[in-house]
Symmetry: C2
Subunit: 324 residues, 2 copies
Amino acid sequence: MNIDMIEAAAERLKGHARRTPLLTSPFLDALAGRRVWVKPECLQHTGSFKFRGAWSALSAMAPDDRARGVVAYSSGNHGQGVAMAARIHGVPAVIVMPSDAPRMKIDNTRALGAEVVLYDRAGDDRDAIGAALSQKRGLTLIKPFDNPQVIAGQGTTGLEIAEQARDAGVTRAQVLVCCGGGGLASGIALALERHAPDMVARPVEPEGFDDVARSLRSGRIERNARTSASLCDAIITPQPGAITFPILQRLCGPGLAVSETDALRAMAQAFSRLKVVAEPGGAVALAAALYHGDQLEGEDVIVTISGGNVDAGVFCDALRAHAE
Amino acid sequence: MNIDMIEAAAERLKGHARRTPLLTSPFLDALAGRRVWVKPECLQHTGSFKFRGAWSALSAMAPDDRARGVVAYSSGNHGQGVAMAARIHGVPAVIVMPSDAPRMKIDNTRALGAEVVLYDRAGDDRDAIGAALSQKRGLTLIKPFDNPQVIAGQGTTGLEIAEQARDAGVTRAQVLVCCGGGGLASGIALALERHAPDMVARPVEPEGFDDVARSLRSGRIERNARTSASLCDAIITPQPGAITFPILQRLCGPGLAVSETDALRAMAQAFSRLKVVAEPGGAVALAAALYHGDQLEGEDVIVTISGGNVDAGVFCDALRAHAE
């Protein structure tokens, strides 16, 4: 896993993935007490950065393997990304999803032409289900983060951040990344190491699901006590990945954890100030920038909004409670 | 008013206005029965395309005139655009707004440093108020649409549409433009005439406020019977402009009118499928593409989302009624 793979992925993504803009608002700057630059990957195809990794992985496969089809397990965003990438490539996709995933994510994955297999997040082992399907039907398993070509695709977000920030005159900043298994954070960190050496990536997680932050502190892979019952469904994973963790450990600053309430408040700010739709897990990095500035350094902070696949009910609960 | 002014405005806007992306969704394509390309100007600074015209006008002023300050009348989006452009230029701005404008627009205009003067939309004449303030305080009046440099700024949206569509392989399409006084529609039409001659702009208005569509049919400027009490506040103007109408007449296809309900349904689709926030008036073009396809021609349709400055309550009403 290295920067060359990310740059090769960027070539394969050209004309397929969207180059999302870098957004700002004087209102967010005032709230955060520093300049806030937002990379809204909710505007990516399928509503999250996951399309990048999915396209990277599928486009890197040998055509014969790809033709047999792919399988992925996912709380919903990786699944939608794989489903759409498979549809465009004209190959079958099976997506293994927790039965408590947001309805929109399940519906969209099906509507994108994939076969959806539901499992119980608390009781079943999704790795085992994915592996079994892979073996039985000859499908290639596209893991959500512990796959070098997936990390390479997510890392293209970091290439764009480095270039867009430089164009805006910013070369020194902390880059806050919504973090589940660490695919996006490790990919961005590798891209910044080469293309923006004065920037440092910092993973942001929901309180109670801060396995990455604790692992970075202890120096070994720590697990979450719970792996369900969070509004931040997109970024709840049991533990950092075997491939992603060493990269995070080598390159990232300390992790941050924010409350669900702060994530909902950040969703309301993204609505009011940026006119974009963030899902709870996609808003944790913005929440850290806006409400945990005491843990940050520097005049500029760059944040990812990793996804926007949220049911209308949850979104309006956030606006009702927190919109100004 | 000509294409050279639009191209000069594009130079002045570089590095100041945002180049918004061109978004797509397979779900919208399926709903519309053709490919739908969306230019989300809600992602522009201050949440609407109006920043383009405001920046164009202020940046084109003689420095001495500009230093004395500017005045604008606006339902809110033009006002925010002028307020922010004035703030960045370091000059005073007075914004004359209807007292029934969305609270968010009034609050934001003040927060951007402008002095806000409220008027009664039904009883007062905003042109007269603006002219009086201009004379009394030596402020330059920046009209919302009947100003060549404002039209030139809005027209930069059309330059980007032509270029982004061509990059996506689309050169022939109808371009649906949310239309109040016709500043955006006439600017886009001029840009397409030069840079995408096989595209035609078509204004879209709310039912009951379709002065432009009726004027295009009759060949002379028609007025609206009512000029208030619409959710589509951003695009309710008494009549097409003296400068904009001849351009619309020469270059645009027939106007379209959509119901408020269709605008709200389109807002819900923009939320679910594009992850952007559209205000009711900003969603009428998307509504025409999705729900009035029988009045369109061709395999591709391009639509503007002209703004996203909507109060949370209205937005959630739209989602509650229409989100899937």
